[in-house]
């Protein structure tokens, strides 16, 4: 038995040790790894009616992946432009939401992390409480704000600022606002955690040496907060790219999110292998993208856990 396991059992006792280890193993293997492997398996199989599953036609194939690129065989186009466009648009939009969130959340996290006083706790609570309301309700609340006869349009047409109602939904503004809002906490708190531990003297020292505020952020605060920034960005990007409720409720008629395509494959078309292939492509692309970004910004995997 390796030393760390021995230490672990010595510390917790054999019974408790086995129980903890068992639960963790069950969680990672039973609830995460096995279902994902089964999805991976699905994605390489043809969509067959139940009697033929396990039969001679049930062989591994790349068909489902080809479908994303080339579309249905004998289709009118060379490439599956509709789905590919949705796929890339989803990724670009997720990047946009991440950057947008970072810009909004950095000042908030900095303020929370560096300001002093009991009001900070109140601010933090005010940020958290809205998240007690479930995601669907929050999305519909935004619909009420952004709808054609919603709060904003009523207000601005009432004030005479514009004549005809502006279609926030069709222009995807409601969608971006909804996605941005949905993950604000996941962006703020990792950054807040790191910035809070930044010695105030560092900021004062930079100021004392003549640095204007932006340079203090650029050279002192942001490099220090990098682990928090990358952790927040990774989570927001992954979750935005994989969001379903916000695009369903707040997306315009033209703006399909890639997750909605996956959902359609699973539910409307009842084509699990196809849905699994789409989901795997999304997952792998997102992971590769995040790894590439981490490389680019020189972030270590260990930093993400901070």
């Amino acid at each position: 038995m390796p030393q760390f396991l021995k230490d672990f059992f010595n510390r917790n006792g054999t019974g408790m040790g086995v129980a903890i280890l068992g639960l963790v193993m069950f969680w990672t293997i039973g609830l995460i790894i096995l279902p994902q492997l089964s999805m991976l398996d699905f994605s390489f199989r043809p969509n067959l009616p139940p009697p033929e599953i396990g039969g001679p036609k049930d062989v591994y194939t790349l068909e489902n992946y080809k479908y994303l690129i080339y579309g249905p065989e004998g289709g009118s186009q060379d490439y599956n432009t509709v789905d590919l466009r949705v796929f890339f648009r989803t990724l670009v939009a997720a990047v946009f939401v991440t950057v947008f969130n970072l810009i909004i959340c950095y000042p908030i996290a900095y303020y929370l992390g560096q300001a002093e006083g009991s009001h900070i706790r109140i601010f933090a609570i005010m940020l958290i409480i809205p998240y007690w309301i479930n995601e669907i309700l929050r999305a519909f609340a935004l619909r009420i704000i952004f709808g054609e006869t919603g709060v904003l349009n009523t207000l601005f047409t009432g004030l005479g600022i514009w004549d005809t109602p502006f279609d926030f939904i069709r222009n995807d503004i409601a969608l971006y606002a909804g996605l941005g809002y949905a993950y604000i906490l996941l962006m703020i708190f990792p950054m807040y955690n790191v910035i809070e531990s930044l010695d105030k003297n560092q900021i004062e020292a930079a100021r004392d040496l003549g640095a204007p505020w932006w340079r203090i952020h650029w050279r002192v605060v942001i490099p220090y907060a990098k682990p928090g920034i990358s952790s927040g960005c990774t989570m927001v990007f992954m979750l935005s790219a994989g969001a379903l409720a916000a695009p369903q409720i707040l997306g315009g008629p033209s703006s399909l999110w890639f997750t909605q395509l996956i959902y359609q494959q699973f539910n409307d078309n009842n084509d699990w292998p196809q849905g699994a292939a789409y989901a795997i492509v999304l997952l792998v692309t997102c992971i590769l993208f995040v790894l590439a970004m981490m490389r680019l910004f020189k972030v270590n995997m260990g930093d993400i856990g901070k």
Binding site: D199, N201, Q202, E204, A205, A206, R207, D208, L209, G210, A211, P212, R215, R219, V220, P223, Y224
Partner: protein, 370 residues
């Protein structure tokens, strides 16, 4: 390197809500001086430093640097550089980047910065260490990098907030000498904050002794040690034996004090209080442990104190005798070790003698906490 300029505090008041951190401070610091604010923690000395550096606006009064009023001028625009208690080096920047951060702000090229960093690294005796991170240096080396970083900004006034307090004793003593040398070499004004009287006495041209927001005395180290203005200054700077009592008779610059427990004794009235003390005033007389000598047993008079020896200790350079005077009053006596034979006095009564010049009388007042 720029020449030092003077710093003046005029009627400076600093309040935090109802709390008065600094009460009507008036200080004139000469250009090129090594000036220390000495006081226990919480006395307001760091607050004064923050007002000079610009991190804090005084509630009333003015800070003048080189005769120019600094009100409304931010810390990044003042000709001062601050060395923080914890140094506040930038942990993610290399040593050379740390040192030349002020040049980076002014847009200096990387080559210029490296060149200047090398010069400063030579000056602080850390040649070739520019590419390390601060975490790879020892405490004393980090200390020197912080000094170099501050000097690189070419300040007219360098402000130091207890920068040696994190170092061990040996290094602290070494850095005292080094700081003083650097100050004399660059010739700029140093304002030094400390609660360590040894640091203040060894390095400073002038010292301001502070107590609870008030400056008790401003003078050079010798004057503060030998001729304190107040009971606090006498008891905070160095070790001192206090005798409480009332003035019985004033005789020019000397006075006879009727002490509560040790009879009538004569001492010099401290310079600042001469002409101000009269018969019947509550007063305190201070005699340094090293100002006592052991007198022949039978001797008596107005500069002799009798006491019973509780215990003795040998400190190397001195023998310390802890005695109990009349009425249980503890008196510490330090006899220099000249290699003489030294008999043990424990349990005996001895008579102590002092020169009236070495005993000083001030008005009764608050003593420094032990």
């Amino acid at each position: 390197m720029s020449a030092g300029v003077g710093v003046d505090l005029e009627n400076l008041w600093i309040r935090f809500g109802d709390f008065v951190a600094v009460r009507d401070a008036n200080v004139n610091i000469n250009g090129g001086d090594f000036f220390s604010f000495l006081g226990p923690s919480g006395c307001g000395k760091t607050t004064i430093l923050r007002a000079v550096s610009g991190f804090l606006e005084p509630s009333e009064g003015n800070v003048l640097i080189g005769g120019k009023n600094m009100r409304g001028i931010g810390p990044n625009k003042r000709p001062t550089a601050l060395i923080f208690q914890n140094l506040a080096l930038f942990p993610l920047m290399k040593v050379w980047e740390n040192i030349t951060f002020s040049m980076e702000i002014k847009g200096a090229s990387s080559a210029e910065r490296r060149k200047r960093a090398d010069e400063l690294l030579d000056m602080i005796a850390l040649p070739g260490q520019g590419d390390k991170l601060p975490s790879e240096l020892s405490g004393g080396q980090r200390q020197r990098v912080a000094i170099a970083r501050a000097l690189c900004a070419e300040p007219h006034v360098l402000l130091l907030d207890e920068p040696l307090s994190a170092l061990d004793l040996k290094l602290r003593q070494h850095m005292r000498t080094e700081l003083r040398e650097i100050q004399q070499r660059v010739g700029i004004t140093f304002i030094y904050i400390t609660h360590d009287q040894g640091e203040a006495l060894t390095m400073s041209d002038n010292i301001a002794v502070m107590r609870a927001g008030v400056i008790d005395q401003i003078a050079d180290g010798k004057t503060i040690y030998n001729d304190p203005n107040t009971a606090f200054a006498a008891s905070f700077v160095g070790e001192n034996n206090v005798f409480r009592g009332k003035i019985k008779q004033v005789m020019g610059t000397e006075a006879l004090i009727s002490t509560n427990r040790s009879g009538d004794l004569v001492a010099r009235i401290s310079t600042a209080n001469q002409g101000k003390m009269k018969e019947g005033d509550s007063a305190m007389m201070f005699i340094r442990p090293e100002a006592f000598a052991i007198a022949p047993k039978a001797a008596s008079g107005d500069h002799f104190v009798t006491a019973r020896v509780n215990h003795e200790e040998f400190e190397g350079n001195v023998f310390n005798i802890f005695t109990e005077g009349e009425g249980g009053k503890e008196i510490k006596v330090s006899i220099p070790n000249h290699g003489q034979s030294f008999e043990d006095h424990t349990g005996q009564n001895i008579t102590l003698e002092y020169k009236t010049d070495n005993a000083v009388i001030v008005p009764a007042g608050e003593l420094a906490a032990e």
